[in-house]
């Protein structure tokens, strides 16, 4: 075989190989990259297609800013609380030394609960903690305690965060369980025989080893809550001013229609989830010199 024909056959092989993943990349382009890119470009254009920063400037009106802020708060609170609680649950299931049936039960239940989101979840919490919900009623009946007199409202910030936890915690459990399995018994024993207390083992070995997955999962929970529409919409209608609901109303044309402002809203959301991901990647590379 001549060098030319080798080169050609190799060339042929390469283009062949590319063809195998072409459908995937076409799909990704059409349904992930282009739509997102279109919005990002549109955010910097006016109705006539000229470059403008006006849409971005519009984002800085108080009602929109506060929507972003509430969204970020709800997402951060439910992500961090979900991560902490989920971590302890996963810990209890894996390392707590509980009976063997606990763990598979916990995992199955987490699988179900993490997917039990959206509209039905809102119904469930309304039926439980709404003004006529079971728990609300029972608290009044047996403890003479009116939940709603404390300022609690399911249709508010705290209610939404509490509801989101219903899928955030199980998601954390699902992801942390294999991560906790990855902690080798030998590490704990090696630490212990070197004189470390249980706390020192967690502080110097286990938590640093788990740190990337802890951080990554918390971030995933954040994005999960930040982009959620259905639960909030079904729970609060449009009474709670969060950014997804604002965008939803924009798209539906329920409110004063301004397409390019919609783009800007979307751009803001992408920026926030994108930036938090970049932050994660940066933290990870910093904290993880020891990873291959």
């Amino acid at each position: 075989m001549t060098a030319l024909s080798i080169a050609r056959s190799r060339l042929g092989q390469v283009s062949w190989s590319w063809l195998g993943v072409a459908p995937f990349f076409v799909f990704a382009l059409m349904f992930l990259i282009l739509p997102t890119g279109f919005l990002m470009v549109g955010a910097f254009q006016d109705a006539g297609g000229n470059f403008t920063l006006a849409n971005i400037a519009h984002l800085f009106q108080p009602s929109i800013l506060s929507a972003y802020w509430i969204s970020i708060e709800v997402s951060a609170v439910s992500a961090i609380a979900g991560a902490v609680i989920g971590f302890f649950l996963a810990y209890a299931g894996v390392l707590g030394g509980l009976p063997r049936w606990i763990r598979p039960t916990l995992m199955t239940f987490s699988g179900v609960a993490s997917n039990f989101a959206g509209v039905p979840l809102a119904f469930a919490f309304l039926a439980t903690l709404g003004r006529v919900g079971l728990v609300t009623a029972l608290l009044v009946k047996y403890f003479d305690f009116n939940l709603y007199s404390t300022g609690f409202n399911l249709l508010s910030f705290s209610g939404l965060a509490l509801t989101y936890l219903y899928f955030q915690i199980p998601l954390m459990v699902l992801i942390m369980t294999p991560a906790l399995d990855g902690l080798k018994r030998d590490w704990r024993e090696a630490a212990s025989i070197l004189g470390a207390s249980s706390w020192q083992y967690w502080r110097h070995v286990a938590l640093p080893v788990l740190w990337p997955s802890l951080l990554g999962t918390t971030l995933l929970l954040f994005a999960n809550a930040f982009g959620a529409v259905a639960t909030a919409y079904a729970l609060t209608g449009s009474s709670l001013n969060i950014v997804t609901i604002l965008l939803y109303a924009q798209i539906r044309g329920d409110v004063l229609h301004d397409e390019n402002l919609g783009y800007a809203l979307a751009l803001g959301m992408i920026l926030i989830t994108g930036l938090s991901n970049l932050a994660y990647i940066w933290l990870r590379t910093r904290s993880e010199k020891w990873l291959r």
Partner: protein
């Protein structure tokens, strides 16, 4: 009193009794190996000494102090694991210094000690590497340094070399032994590799099914196994079934052919069935003449192992393996040939207990 004293140690997991009546006294600076087949309880015993498992009964004393109820982090014991168990998130130096760090020693002291340890294991330039950047052999040496950095009273090693390949195993074996000698640290070494145990140890504890079969120096264990188990586990012994024909005259019969057995016949009665051990290297196909045992049999199998040719000779019920050196000028004998094998009276070892 011995430095490390284990008295009547037992361990059961539920109904399963894993270690029974374990007794051992280790002198200061001594290197003792636990040798035995997989599942015989070596690791479990070692883990009780380390404090990872609570014994079901018995006591463990280190340097006169009863440590049976103490947690691992209160025992001042060093341990090296089969899997190395280095902390992946720490550099070599941080790993080695970990024990001192959690004991809140000043940084200067930690630094000096780490440097000393890395020099001891001959890896002074790798202080800044992470475990994944080291070979298996290097990782295990770091693990050794980490265990020694806290100046433990006792060093425990659980099959530290079994994850490494053969060459490094031999090199590291010698290195561990020389470090141990240099520091004079009391050491227990778990292995199921008899060569390792024989070459490294001051004394060997041969274990089987949770029990101590025999404790002795490598020389004693190899040359004077007390039980059939020890004889078959250490070395490649021939085990034969023999009938004691005349206990007084020290005569026994193997498949009807009478021989003389010099060792281990005390306390037996004529007519008893006993197991008899015979080392392959003690048996010869040539006959130097003189006072020797002679047995007639048929060559059953010849296997060529390179420098050595292993020949199996069958009598009736029993068979013997023997090794001859390969001689390029001489073809190995053919199977089916009638031969006479010879061995000295002293090489026949009658084992404890009835023949099975």
């Amino acid at each position: 009193m011995a430095f490390l004293e284990i008295k009547d140690l037992r361990k059961a997991f539920g109904p399963l009794s894993v270690v029974q009546n374990f007794e051992l006294a280790v002198e200061g600076g001594e290197f003792v190996s636990f040798l035995g087949p997989s599942g015989c309880g070596k690791t479990t015993t070692l883990r009780m000494v380390a404090g990872f498992e609570q014994p079901s009964a018995g006591t463990i004393r280190i340097n006169g102090r009863d440590v049976t109820g103490l947690r691992p982090n209160q025992r001042n014991v060093g341990m090296v694991f089969q899997s190395y168990a280095l902390f992946p998130n720490m550099t070599v130096a941080e790993n080695v210094g970990f024990g001192l760090k959690v004991a809140r020693r000043p940084a200067a002291e930690i630094g000096a000690r780490v440097e000393e340890m890395l020099r001891l294991i001959k890896l002074p330039t790798l202080a800044g590497r992470y475990p994944y950047q080291l070979s298996g052999g290097q990782q295990q040496r770091v693990a050794l340094a980490r265990a020694l950095a806290i100046k433990p009273q006792v060093l425990l090693l659980d099959e530290p070399l079994s994850a490494l390949d053969a060459k490094i195993r031999v090199a590291l074996r010698e290195e561990i032994r020389s470090v141990q000698r240099k520091l004079g640290i009391t050491t227990i070494y778990v292995t199921h590799d008899q060569e390792e145990a024989l070459s490294m140890s001051d004394r060997i504890v041969v274990m089987n099914e949770g029990r101590v079969e025999q404790i002795g120096t490598p020389f004693e264990i190899y040359n004077y196994p007390r039980t059939r188990f020890v004889a078959s586990f250490v070395g490649t012994l021939n085990i034969l079934r023999a009938r004691v024909t005349d206990a007084g005259q020290r005569r026994i019969a193997i498949d009807g052919q009478e021989i003389v057995a010099r060792r281990g016949l005390d306390g037996t009665a004529s007519g008893e069935l006993r197991a008899v051990a015979l080392r392959p290297e003690a048996v010869s196909l040539s006959d130097p003449g003189g006072e020797r045992n002679r047995l007639q049999g048929t060559i059953e199998d010849v296997s060529f192992l390179g420098s050595v040719v292993r020949i199996r000779v069958r009598f009736k019920e029993n068979a013997i393996s023997l090794d001859t050196f390969n001689n390029p000028g001489l073809a190995p004998p053919e199977p089916g040939r009638e031969v006479t094998v010879t061995f000295a009276y002293d090489d026949v070892l009658v084992l404890e207990g009835e023949a099975s």
